[in-house]
């Protein structure tokens, strides 16, 4: 055995320990990353799943014309000013006849959501013959009642309901006068001060309009810019400067784009604040680099032989590009655009700058109506002091993630199905 072998052998144990350690670090690192992912998702699903359901309370409601102060339900004005809370109050008083005193009565009335009144109004509008009738109805519970019913025995001690309220709710629960239903208001309303009436439809519509504006602006401009840079641009200082700009813009913090939007688009051009149109323009500027870079990659992937073949037939440069290169590169460009859109959909910071952070109840009807978007809605709810909003924010996150996952899956599928390998 040679001297070398002997010396090497002495070091082996130590070196293999180091090897194992190193490998363990690697596995540990991946473990940390994956664990963070799992924690994030379980945390959000754990917090948010309950928001997809809500509790209702059963009450016999009498549509008393006098209490309501409605004589003709067909009169829209009268209908709108009807005292629906009064009817609910009467129903509650009837259900709990022993409750007396102003304070207790008010506490009792807090059990039902203020939104229940609108439900009664809508019912009456649908069916005017209800006036004077009594119906046993399921009414939306207040968010504190909802939280109390969803909570475990132990958590119930921390409820915001007072002792008497807790007793009443427990009584209703025991006699089957409460039930859990799918939270429809989540998907059918805009924001609200009352958690049980707040929904994400307004934010989803806002996001939709913003994304439409972004897509309509960024895709054609991005593709045109990519075509110019790949196919027409001469190699000179100006082109280099454009490239440096694109690469840097891709790494500029998104909030800076918000400042640009605020100072130039709102300040200089006088477009209104809080509207999806401005949001879409800002996000366009932000996603353009992504789209340009991926579109250029797609154009580069088209083999030169195709260009030469078309050119050999006497096609002009523009014809080569529009008839041959562009159709072949389009799937790759679309994939890039979808990924860019997914980024834009999750973006929050620049939209705060241009005022899309306002409290907006009405559903936006177009890109010029004040609106908020899904991520901003999440931010607003996460900042709200009421506990129910936390669950709502988680639920909104789940919806947002579902959109993002769909978009990214679509991009992957598109790439697999349409992209050609040369």
């Amino acid at each position: 055995m040679s001297e070398t072998t002997e010396k090497v052998r002495k070091t082996l144990a130590r070196r293999y320990r180091a090897e194992k350690r190193f490998k363990a670090f690697g596995i540990g690192s991946i473990g940390i990353g994956l664990m963070a992912l799992v924690l994030l998702f379980t945390d959000i699903i754990g917090k948010g799943h309950s928001a997809f359901f809500e509790y209702e309370v059963q009450l016999p409601i009498t549509f008393d014309a006098e209490v309501l102060d409605v004589s003709d339900p067909r009169d829209e004005d009268e209908l709108n000013y009807g005292n629906y809370q009064g009817v609910i109050r009467d129903a509650l008083a009837e259900r709990f006849p022993t409750v007396e005193g102003r304070q207790d009565t008010r506490a009792l009335n807090q059990l039902v959501s203020t939104g229940a009144g609108y439900a009664l109004r809508d019912m009456l509008r649908e069916d005017p013959s209800l006036l004077g009738e009594t119906r046993t109805l399921w009414l939306l519970a207040d968010d504190d009642v909802d939280l109390f019913l969803k909570a475990s025995e132990k958590q119930r001690e921390d409820s915001r309901l007072n002792t008497k309220q807790q007793q009443w709710v427990a009584e209703l629960e025991a006699s089957g006068e409460t039930r859990m239903v799918f939270n429809q208001s989540l998907f059918s309303y805009g924001d609200s001060r009352e958690p049980e009436q707040a929904g994400i439809l307004g934010a989803i519509l806002g996001s939709l309009f913003t994304m439409i504006v972004t897509l309509v602006l960024s895709f054609p401009v991005g593709v045109a810019a990519a075509i110019y840079l790949e196919e027409f641009a001469p190699k000179n200082k100006f082109t280099d400067f454009i490239e440096v700009n694109i690469n840097n813009l891709a790494a500029v913090p998104s909030i800076i784009f918000g400042l640009l939007g605020l100072a130039v688009i709102i300040g200089l051009f006088g477009l209104p604040r809080s509207v999806p149109l401005v949001g879409g323009i800002v996000l366009t500027l932000m996603t353009l680099p992504t789209i340009i870079i991926s579109s250029r990659a797609a154009i580069k992937a088209v083999p030169p032989s195709i260009r030469q073949a078309a050119m050999g037939l006497g096609a002009s440069k523009m014809q080569v590009v529009l008839h041959h290169v562009l159709p072949l590169a389009l799937p790759g460009m679309l994939t890039g655009a979808i990924i860019g859109m997914a980024q834009a959909l999750g973006e929050t910071a620049p939209l705060l700058m241009i005022g899309m952070v306002a409290f907006i109840v009405d559903l936006p009807a177009g890109p010029l109506d004040a609106a908020t978007v899904l991520p901003v809605q999440i931010y607003l709810w996460a900042d709200s002091p009421e506990q129910s909003f936390e669950a709502l924010a988680s639920a909104a996150i789940m919806v947002l993630l579902a959109f993002l996952i769909t978009m990214n899956t679509l991009a992957v599928v598109l790439r697999k199905r349409l992209e050609r390998r040369w």
């Binding site: 070196r15 293999y16 180091a18 090897e19 350690r21 190193f22 490998k23 690697g26 596995i27 690192s29 991946i30 940390i32 990353g33 994956l34 992912l37 994030l40 945390d43 917090k47 054609p220 045109a224 810019a225 110019y228 840079l229 027409f232 641009a233 454009i242 700009n245 690469n247 790494a251 500029v252 913090p253 909030i255 800076i256 400042l259 640009l260 605020l262 100072a263 130039v264 300040g267 500027l285 353009l288 002009s316 523009m318 999750g346 973006e347 929050t348 910071a349 705060l352 005022g355 991520p375 901003v376 999440i378 931010y379 996460a382 936390e390 924010a393 988680s394 996150i397 947002l400 990214n408």
Partner: protein, 462 residues
Amino acid sequence: MQTGNLLLLLVVMVAGAYFVGLRRSYALARPLGGIRHLHSLPFYFAMRSAMWCAIPALVVLGLWLAFDDSIIRQQVLAGLPAELQPTDASSYNLTLSKIQNVASGALPANFVEAPIAAAAENLQALRQTSAMALTVVIIVLCMFGGAWAWLKVSPQLRARQQVERVLQTLFMLCATVAILTTVGIVLSVLFESIRFFGKVPVTDFLFGLQWSPQTALRADQVASGGAFGAVPLFMGTMLISAIALLVAVPVGLMSAIYLAEYASNRVRTVAKPALEVLAGVPTVVYGFFAALTVAPFIRGMGESIGLDVASESALAAGLVMGIMIIPFVSSLADDVITAVPQAMRDGSLGLGATKSETIKKVIFPAALPGIMGGILLAASRAIGETMIVVMAAGLAANLTANPLEAVTTITVQIVTLLTGDQEFDSAKTLAAFALGLMLFITTLVMNIFALHIVKKYREQYD
């Protein structure tokens, strides 16, 4: 006429011009014996006339819409009697919104001074005139453009070249949007910053240790003058970014090394996309996670061992930001590591080095410039990250290096200063732009430097 209707009209006219152009070229070709006697295909003649019809009109329309509002505003305010003339920025805004509200009917005319009501009427009238004039101008431009194109049509006309040149110019304009964006960013933050530095000296801003931007909203209000020393913000930003990098760099780097050098194909196909999911999660979700889960957890942990932890500790924001950056670091590191030629690995393994020795002593040093570039990019991203810190870091501008205390960052302050109702000209809102300028310059320098390093590194092995 409303802008939407005007656009619709424009589309109709352009389509008309297209078909007129098409028919004209066919009519021209018939006596010659078919379209092959024309210089270009009829399609190009049609496109050419459509372009002549559309482009001048669109340019005028764009400019008009961009500037008519501010011109009208000037006109209306100039028409006010001297005693109602706005003296400063806030009264300017107030007067203006009053006039606009009256004009839109939101405020009854008898609620305001007579001159204001008159101004509102003036505003209405001017707006109508402007819209009318615009409609007329657009129609005339379309007609003239279309007619010009129609007149110039001849069999020898190089219509294809003209159309292609216009298209190419259009493509070039699209490419310059990137430059315009940069210029727009620079100008917008620069102008407001200069105005800010007119109110607050640059040295106070850059070296001041006190940050409390609460200035008086109205002149008669009693409030502190506001302090705009940004050092606590810079320190806070650096503290949180440092925590984030301390998490992300080792974890991201080791993940990349393990996936590139050790992991089996099966592990790689699962772990790599899973890590990339982390990169696709919106920052607001991380902010939610940091503020409502991680921060209370760290606070609870600290309390259980007797430490006083702020509920909005720098640690919570930094940790979560680190998690967010992990995939960013790992994908950059992966690129860099796989770019090291196989010959390096062979050389080392052939001498009897173990895998980890090869990685630590050959691959890592060889990849170091690229990795440094990647870390720099990650740092620039951490500095510019907004939502996590807005939701999980505090507003209090503490000058501290203790990660358990609350600190605030540049981005948090930009958001706080600019959300909520502010007038546009106060030192408070302008300060946000000065911070934006700092942020932009810092990240720009870091990005250019990092991209340069990475590019040089790649060229070395190409």
